[in-house]
């Protein structure tokens, strides 16, 4: 399919449509998907994205209401506006999906991600790593004489920036949770 530059899910998607995909601008959208917490619901959501060729840049999921059996999936997807509209409509079609919110267009929202960064080093580099961690307000959650594990909460860009700075200072490993997001205000 790629050789033909057919964009699946595009508003004018058809096997007959041989458009140049570069003519369309892709946007990143953060979606909050409230689902029934039942077996297989995450597989349905992920299967939709892989089956229809949509992108997932980040995905987090956890139960948010135990008695009501609700889970919240926060996912960041990328696509042309038409693709994003299709993604939302297709998500809404899944039987155990209760609500789909596009936090990128529905008003201001807070987005946060947690990262754990293991940095190995000695001497000046170790001191520099600790100094930068303080600037970023990262916490030290583990320490040996030759390593730190920093915990940092922030926007994905902040975590990216921190990782970039830590790389020359001995960044050995990192784990990120993906984005969790909520709309601002009441």
């Amino acid at each position: 399919m790629n050789a033909l530059n057919i964009q699946k899910g595009a508003s004018s998607h058809s096997a007959y449509d041989l458009r140049d995909p570069n003519s369309q601008v892709e946007e990143s959208h953060t979606l909050a998907v409230l689902v029934e917490n039942e077996p297989g619901v995450l597989a349905r959501v992920i299967g939709l994205f892989s089956g229809r060729g949509y992108n997932i840049d980040s995905l987090t999921v956890a139960e948010v209401d135990h008695t009501g059996h609700r889970s919240r999936i926060t996912l960041v997807t990328r696509g042309t506006p038409a693709v994003i509209a299709q993604v939302k409509a297709q998500l809404g079609r899944i039987v155990p999906v209760h609500e789909v919110h596009d936090l990128t267009v529905e008003g201001p929202a807070v987005e946060r991600e947690l990262g754990l960064f293991k940095v190995r080093g000695q001497g000046e580099k170790r001191v520099e790593a600790l100094r930068i961690a303080e600037i970023f307000r990262a916490n030290v959650v583990d320490s040996t004489l030759e390593s730190f594990v920093f915990e940092l909460v922030g926007t994905p860009t902040k975590l990216d920036a921190f990782a970039d700075l830590m790389r020359p200072l001995g960044l050995a490993d990192l784990a990120r949770t993906g984005v969790a997001a909520l709309s601002r205000g009441i």
């Binding site: 033909l4 899910g9 508003s11 004018s12 998607h13 058809s14 096997a15 007959y16 449509d17 041989l18 458009r19 029934e36 077996p39 297989g40 597989a43 349905r44 299967g47 089956g51 038409a82 509209a85 299709q86 409509a89 297709q90 809404g92 079609r93 899944i94 039987v95 155990p96 209760h98």
Partner: protein, 584 residues
Amino acid sequence: MSRMMTGARMVVEALRDQGVDTVFGYPGGAVLPIYDELFQQNDITHVLVRHEQGAVHMAEGYARSTGKPGVVLVTSGPGATNAVTGLTDALLDSIPLVVLSGQVPTFMIGTDGFQEADTVGITRPCTKHNWLVKDTDKLAGTIHKAFQVATSGRPGPVLVDIPKDVQFATGTYVGPKQIEPARYQPVRKGDITAITRLVELIEAAERPILYTGGGVINSGPGASQLLRELADATGFPVTSTLMGLGAYPASGKNWLGMLGMHGLYEANLAMHGCDLMINVGARFDDRITGRIADFSPQSIKAHIDIDPSSINKVVHVDIPIVGDVGHVLEDLLKVWKSRGRKVNSAALNQWWQQIEGWKAKNCLGYRNSDTIIKPQYALERLEALTKGRDRYITTEVGQHQMWAAQYLHFDAPNRWMTSGGLGTMGYGLPASIGVQMAHPDALVINVAGDASWLMNMQEMGTAVQFRLPVKQFIMNNERLGMVRQWQQLLHGERYSQSWSDSLPDFVKLAEAFGCKGALVKDPKDLDGAIQQMLDYDGPFILDVLVEKHENCFPMIPSGKPHNEMLLGEAATFGVIESEGAVLV
């Protein structure tokens, strides 16, 4: 009142409470308790199929001809995987099915047990929804929910996977009315502002067209009635997709015939030239649109669809109306009538004159023969000899399917069962059996090609066992005709693997199955042979030897717009450019 019973009994009880009279299935180890319960009751007829794919297509035929959900019962592992093609077919054509599958006992799930397969995993992308029931107390409620999901909103197939220990264990039965109201409640009423805006456009339109699809059929006979009222009251021309044939009668004065790749010239040109396109329950499938960039370039497009994801999926529309076709048409007619039933009559007259000009091309004309039966002629005679009878047609997939859509006429909904979206060869024979089960006294004909028919021919055994007088009208060209046609048009006439070698003798095959068969190859004998098939009281295979190299026209070549149709044999070489050749 709640009652205690085994899971297996619950299945039968729930089916009975859902009004199910027929189940298509095949037994196996993981569904034995349910089969034991079926044995001990008389309300539900079980149709023993010869292959589980056949069971699902039969259920589709049953569902499409009745509007009720079709029910299938299969065992675990291979039973469930054999059902996958049918499930996918039903998903693409929005056919309500409830498939019940057995599963290894809960304590064996995940151990690669005998006949274990991850059925809910395998069928997740090919069902509207599916469930694995691990607790007998939840079994009845889940089955009732399954019926609700399958039949509401945009219909589709669902599957309930039932482990064997859940069938044996005892639990509390709940009836359909005892389950909590479903949270899954798709919108049925359309937005009245959008409907009013569409009415304004209807009043002013100079070159309108109603482009109708399977959604009208799925919405029920009332929707077809409303469509007829709308078309006849406004005088707007009507065309339909393959899925929607019969919603507007072929004998109706506004009927243009089917549109799309093998649609009629007048239908496609009217779509291309219209200024207002009203899509009623269709989905802008690629067989319909041709090249998107040139699809009906001058029209304002309205789209009535119950599924929000159909809106703007392929073609950008100006007036989206999410709702059930029946409800929306009812509101539309109300608003239009209350505003004085206005249409732009002068412009409409001109539009019809233009359409009559296209009709004059007689795009379904073909060169007949005295010596060889032309497939088009075979269908014209079938149409003539069954005219006036309440007739149900199923088809397989290929050239014969397109010719059937062109040359047979449907005046009522639910009379035409064909695999549209998935294009499943082997659909027609089992589907005809499902239709005949639902309508024991009706005339049911499967218009088939030789290659497709062989794909599920084992189901003739089912037809004979249940004394179902299905008529198998095989147009035998000893080819995979549509594949051959494409190879001729765009692969340099290299006919790679597209002929049917070693075909069986269909007459002897009919006898071997215990039914009746006949062969006809002379056009002079055709009427007699068809009449013999129609008069025979039982399943019948008519082997019609037709012209081997006939191509199906009209045709919009791949990658071309509607106004670049091919009308006949002339100039068919080099018409598909390399870009189009990679498409299907």
